[in-house]
């Protein structure tokens, strides 16, 4: 069998290819492409992709390319893409990094679109300020959350211990933890996770003492005595077996999957309120969340409402206005809100919150109630962390481990932490 190709065949084929490619290119030129990059779990990705499809169907000729990574892989990828002039149009941004990215000119200011494309008038003022750097808006908050203690309800019931409340003190908590461990209902199971290296928990404790992690000028806002007391408190917990031993705690890579709670090693973990959804997704036991313990009976809690994450528009995007339109859809459209729920935190828009409330499941309602219930308890939003804050967080973790494994005592730990953090921040 031979394939014969006449001149006519070739010409016709060529013409077909040509017309097809012209069609395709004209379709391409009509199409607006928007690349969106975020970090998070699979369940967040599913929700986000659904919203993107919705946006596409309401805006014909628009193609959204979504991409997601875990937290630790996310920042290297983003930095490389920005450096390679290949930044995504829409960037999920964290409170920790927004100042760095904005000051280095990687983000587009959104002030021009406020009121026209970006209708965020009913947002909490504080949260708008949280997304602003040097007086310009660089990030639209996707939701509010707050530090929270995740609690395994079943494990507490098994041990016959009452769940903590908003007036539980750290002293109570040490006793409760030891009781759960002593009850011994599960193999290798402890009352509490070791929170000595968990920065948001340390911050909460410092705020109760009227201190903070960082000053507005980017210096550290606590001293060696504060840190030493903190480490001493946890050393006592380890001693009393109220919390997990250090080699168990060191398995925690500070994500939902490897926390002592999810690993089945402890009845608590320290996280953020929007993460309850993710925690419950991979834990069989029923979970709930509580505010962090108090330093004393009459202490004021150290919580605050924090923008869980932002959407920013890249300075490299071709059409920042369209980016703003996409973000507006994401935070204001009721259908989008119904899909997103409170997985990224409690929506900032009052209208969206009201529309959303009746549609939420139990977990979603718990998150909503937790954050709105903080009400008067919540303090001011601290200034955005200075550059070097990420490194300082690693230093806290490392020093906490050194104390945990007995290489330093609590007093030395306090001095080491303050020295290292000061050095890191001075380097910037």
């Amino acid at each position: 069998m031979t394939l014969r190709m006449t001149r006519r065949n070739v010409l016709a084929g060529g013409a077909a290819v040509l017309s097809y490619s012209m069609l395709a290119s004209s379709a391409l030129s009509q199409e607006k492409r928007l690349r969106v990059l975020w970090w998070g779990s699979q369940s967040r990705a599913d929700r986000t992709n659904k919203v993107n499809q919705l946006f596409q169907s309401e805006n014909p000729g628009v193609a959204i390319n979504g991409e997601f990574l875990g937290w630790t892989d996310y920042w290297p990828r983003l930095a490389t893409q920005v450096a390679g002039r290949n930044a995504p149009d829409i960037i999920q941004m964290d409170y920790r990094y927004i100042v760095e990215y904005a000051r280095r000119g990687a983000l587009a200011p959104l002030n021009d679109y406020l009121g026209s494309v970006l209708k965020v008038e009913d947002f909490d003022k504080v949260q708008i300020e949280g997304g602003s750097v040097d007086g310009k808006l660089y990030g639209v908050s996707l939701g509010a959350n707050s530090a929270a203690m995740m609690v395994n309800v079943v494990a507490f019931e098994e041990a016959g211990v009452e769940l903590p409340t908003s007036s539980t003190t750290w002293e109570d908590m040490a006793r409760i933890g030891a009781e759960i461990t002593k009850a011994g209902k599960r193999k290798g199971f402890y009352g509490l996770a070791d929170g000595s290296g968990v920065e948001p928990l340390f911050e909460n404790w410092l705020r109760q003492r009227g201190k903070a992690l960082f000053t507005a000028e980017g210096k550290i806002a606590y001293d060696a005595n504060d840190a030493a007391e903190w480490f001493a408190m946890w050393a006592a917990m380890r001693e009393a077996k109220a919390c997990v031993p250090p080699d168990i705690q060191a398995l925690d890579q500070f994500n939902i999957e490897t926390s002592p709670l999810s690993l089945g090693k402890a009845a608590t973990s320290y996280a953020h309120s929007n993460q309850l959804v993710g925690y419950q997704a991979i834990n069989k036991d029923k979970l709930t969340m509580r505010t962090h313990p108090l330093i004393g009976k009459d202490a004021k809690p150290g919580h605050y409402r924090k923008p869980s994450m932002f959407f920013s528009v890249s300075a490299q995007t071709k059409d920042p206005e369209f980016g703003a339109k996409y973000i507006n859809f994401f935070v204001k459209d009721p259908k989008a809100a119904a899909i997103l729920g409170v997985e990224r935190g409690v929506p900032e828009s009052a209208a969206v919150r009201e529309a959303l409330a009746p549609t939420l499941d139990e977990l979603g309602r718990a998150a909503l109630e937790y954050v709105s219930g903080l009400g008067a308890l919540a303090g001011d939003l601290p200034p955005p962390p200075p550059s070097g804050a990420g490194e300082a967080e690693l230093a806290l973790r490392s020093v906490a481990e050194q104390v945990g494994f007995g290489q330093l005592d609590a007093k030395q730990g306090g001095e080491t932490l303050v020295n290292e953090a000061t050095q890191i921040l001075s380097r910037g």
Binding site: T72, T258, E391, R397, Q402, F405
Partner: protein, 318 residues
């Protein structure tokens, strides 16, 4: 067939007979063009992906570069900080040296042992060779490191086995006293590639030497010590140099097992992991480039030292 061949020769002769009217360059092209075309993928790779970035990183090592703003020239400041004010540099170097010193001898020893066993004419040798080589192929991969994490975690397989004997093991990967050892064991487990090379080396040793030795009444151990080892020294030398360089560059296992932190307490902070943290965690590309060049220098010194000492213990049979 004959006719075809004849005509081909005729065409060739015609081409050769043509006067050299074209330029020298074109002439070179006809002579070597095909060769360069075949080399092209490698040339592009070498200049575009190896030499180019290397030169760029040398430049960047004298700058502050945060990936977003353009690099800012700071002279030798990065190198000065490495030398005088960076405890983590010292810590990571210490961890890396420990890893090299532990993993390379163990790995080579184990590889040699297995190679000798396989050399004794095992049935189904090719199958064993393939099986033993497999971990080396998989070794650098993330999946294996994740598997390792599972095996050595507090309630992993290793501790379940120990529990059979009534021993309560710690969480090996997250205890600063043991974590480096799990990485060493992982490295030894990937003995396949030096093993294959040892096996080839063993096959090169003439059997009549052993025959002569056993006629003279030399024990197996003596034969190994007096014949096998000396004749194998070139292969041992090659494996040692290659594996040392590999060990200095190790990254993936530590990255996965510590979740990128190098913890607990910097006990798995390999040099390359620290370099990665500085580059992509703290966005100090210039400083990370300087660290990279220090590593090049260290590996270079080590290799040069190996070559210098090799003349005293490596025997080339000629």
């Amino acid at each position: 067939m004959a006719a075809v061949q004849d005509s081909a020769i005729a065409v060739g002769a015609g081409a050769k007979g043509r006067p050299a009217a074209r330029g020298r360059l074109a002439d070179l092209w006809t002579k070597h063009g095909a060769g360069y075309m075949f080399l092209l993928p490698w040339l592009v790779g070498f200049f575009g992906l190896t030499l180019g970035p290397a030169v760029a990183s040398l430049y960047l090592s004298f700058t502050n570069f945060d990936l977003i703003r353009s690099p800012e020239w700071v002279g030798a400041a990065n190198y000065v900080r490495i030398a005088t004010a960076d405890p983590k540099f010292a810590a990571s170097l210490q961890v890396t040296f420990l890893y090299v010193v532990l993993s390379v001898p163990f790995k080579l020893g184990f590889a040699l042992l297995v190679a000798i066993l396989l050399d004794r004419g095992v049935r189904g040798l090719t199958v064993y060779r393939a099986i033993f080589y497999l971990p080396s192929l998989l070794g650098g991969s993330v999946a294996i490191a994740v598997l390792w994490r599972q095996l050595f975690a507090g309630d992993g397989l290793i501790n379940s086995l120990l529990a059979q004997f009534g021993i309560e093991g710690p969480s090996w990967i997250s205890h600063p006293d043991y974590s480096i050892w799990t990485l060493v064991v992982l490295s030894v487990w990937q003995f396949g590639s030096p093993m294959i090379i040892f096996l080839a080396g063993l096959r090169q040793i003439p059997t009549d030497m052993y025959e002569a030795a056993s006629l003279d009444g030399a024990s197996k151990f003596r034969q190994f010590y007096k014949i096998t080892l000396p004749l194998l020294t070139p292969v041992i030398f090659f494996n040692a140099v290659v594996q040392t360089i590999e060990a200095f560059k190790a990254f993936t296992p530590a990255f996965i097992i510590s979740g990128g932190t190098g913890g607990p307490i910097n006990s798995t902070l390999f040099y390359t992991l620290y370099l990665y943290q500085e580059a992509f965690g703290n966005f100090r590309m210039g400083y990370a480039s300087a660290l990279a060049w220090i590593l090049v220098l260290i590996i270079g010194l080590f290799t040069a030292f190996s070559f210098l000492t090799s003349r005293y213990w490596v025997h080339y049979d000629d």
